[in-house]
Amino acid sequence: MYGTHSKRDLSLEFQSQIPILRPSIHARRANLTVKFQDLYGFTVEGNVDDVNVLNEVREKVRKQGRVWWALEASKGANWYLQPSISEGIDLKSSLKFSVLANAITLKRLIRKGIPPVLRPKVWFSLSGAAKKKSTVPESYYNDLTKAVEGKVTPATRQIDHDLPRTFPGHPWLDTPEGHAALRRVLVGYSFRDSDVGYCQGLNYVAALLLLVMKTEEDAFWMLAVLLENVLVNDCYTTNLSGCHVEQRVFKDLLAKKCPRIATHLESLEFDVSLVATEWFLCLFSKSLPSETTLRVWDVLFYEGAKVLFHVALAIFKMKEEELLLTHHVGDVINILQKTTHHLFDPDELLTVAFDKIGSMTTNTISKQRKKQEPAVMAELDQRLRRLNSIKVDEN
């Protein structure tokens, strides 16, 4: 059973089923598309080039693993499980050169990718989930799931509706066992935070967390730390106000960091939120291939929500020349969708995200959010009043 106590290594299990893909000469000639499962069990359709890229990525993952083992050998086991730089190391300890050096090494290392086998441990610790869990009794998750069993709320109804609609066809998620585990995590969380309850989009995020974390309980805590600490407040609550704020900040950043693209898209009356909203709400899980998504999440859990801006900007930046040639909204969307779906090489994306976009501190982003909040609130409020006035007219 894939319960709280079983520690099956799902990702490895999938991996062992996948033979190294060697496209035949015939496939090459015919430029066929092939269907195969990726590292996390998702069906991918791609051409021969995509398969080659994925094989290279697999090799790079292995190499990166060796770097981590070597560091562990020299720095000691678990050297990386220390508070993140962004969390602020207290002054005394930061004066210790080794701590600071470790933090810098770690940041660089994480941007190059956490080996899939270490992901659960590293995420759990560096994101703050472990700390969050340690503040409540050991039995919290089990008690919670027992206490809410059989309860029916609008959130549980919506969750039940979405279970078979979450990555349908996935070899584990789309089984009764997978549905049950995802249901317990989402329902449990909907009771933990009734302001959020359940928001569509979280189903995809929680599903991917389950695949990575391997235990339901750890996936639950990752979801909690994500919503309560990592992401901006109110991303998923009743009117998605946090999400509206992020979108406005993103538009400003695009204008600043990619002015040519921003100007061109404006001339087409293309609002970047049309595509970016889903990216931010699903944390790219519906748009990018799985390993690429998880590489984004590696950095997200260590450096914070500003990473989402880096990545979203990078997707536009990578296609700058092509985007500047578009005449129609539809063409812009096609370019962006094609790009995201084929980003099988995470380094291609992350190199642009961090080297070409330039640095942005969490601090400046916070300031920009503060600046946008009043406008968002006013806009949402105005809409609500307008809709209410319709109702009054009716009576």
Partner: protein
């Protein structure tokens, strides 16, 4: 990373039919309606001729395009399929802004979804473009035994509110192409200046679109 790679929206199908020396119309169309009413299924049926039992839930909105030949013109629909969950409604204005047409979808087996549809009608009437062609679709018409909303009731409501009404089934394809054809036929053919209705009439290829405005 959909496991249904085949059904990704990335591939826009153009079924542009040969028409002799006539107009090409681009029209933005938005689908609105309750969660699970079948918005995505209707679009998938129209654009790809497919139906899948478990359609991924839509987050934000999804984009498709499809071209139809109607009488003397070809109409290229740029379709925004929006998310149905209540809290996503705050995003809706971004999608219906400038739309030339809308399909408001409800599920004939679900009374609440019909009530929700009426709210969308009101919102469009008060906020949307006044020339917008609005269709009301009573979807899942194949589920007759489970019907909760009478066709007559919806028809009467549509008439009162200046919409046109059809019962559809994304599953069996009944009336799906028809509703889009009907919209295409009703779109105003002549384009007012400044293009407030969200439609662009193109006599020539679109090279003239300002590319000079982008510089850095």
């Amino acid at each position: 990373m959909s496991s249904e790679g085949v059904l990704r929206l990335e591939k826009v199908i153009h079924t542009l039919m040969a028409t002799s020396g006539n107009k090409n119309i681009n029209a933005k169309l938005v689908l609105l309606g309750d969660v699970g009413a079948g918005k995505s299924s209707l679009v998938l049926r129209f654009v790809k001729g497919q139906f899948i039992e478990f359609q991924e839930s839509t987050i934000g909105a999804a984009f498709f395009s499809q071209t139809l030949a109607v009488n003397d013109a070809t109409v290229k629909f740029e379709i925004w399929d929006t998310a149905g969950q209540e809290r996503y409604h705050s995003l809706a204005p971004m999608y219906y802004r400038g739309a030339a047409a809308a399909i408001i979808v409800y599920d004939i087996t679900n009374q609440a979804s019909f009530e929700r549809a009426k709210k969308w009608v009101q919102e469009l009437h008060s906020q949307g473009n006044p020339n917008m062609v609005v269709a009301l679709a009573g979807n899942k018409a194949d589920l007759l035994e489970a019907r909760k909303v009478a066709a007559e009731e919806a028809q009467a409501y549509a008439q009162e509110n200046g919409l046109f009404f059809m019962e559809t089934s994304a599953k069996t394809a009944t009336n799906v192409n028809d509703i889009f054809y009907e919209i295409a036929k009703r779109l105003p053919r002549v384009q007012p200046a400044q293009n407030p209705s969200g439609m662009v009439l193109m006599d020539r290829p679109a090279e003239r679109v300002a590319s000079a405005s982008c510089c850095s």
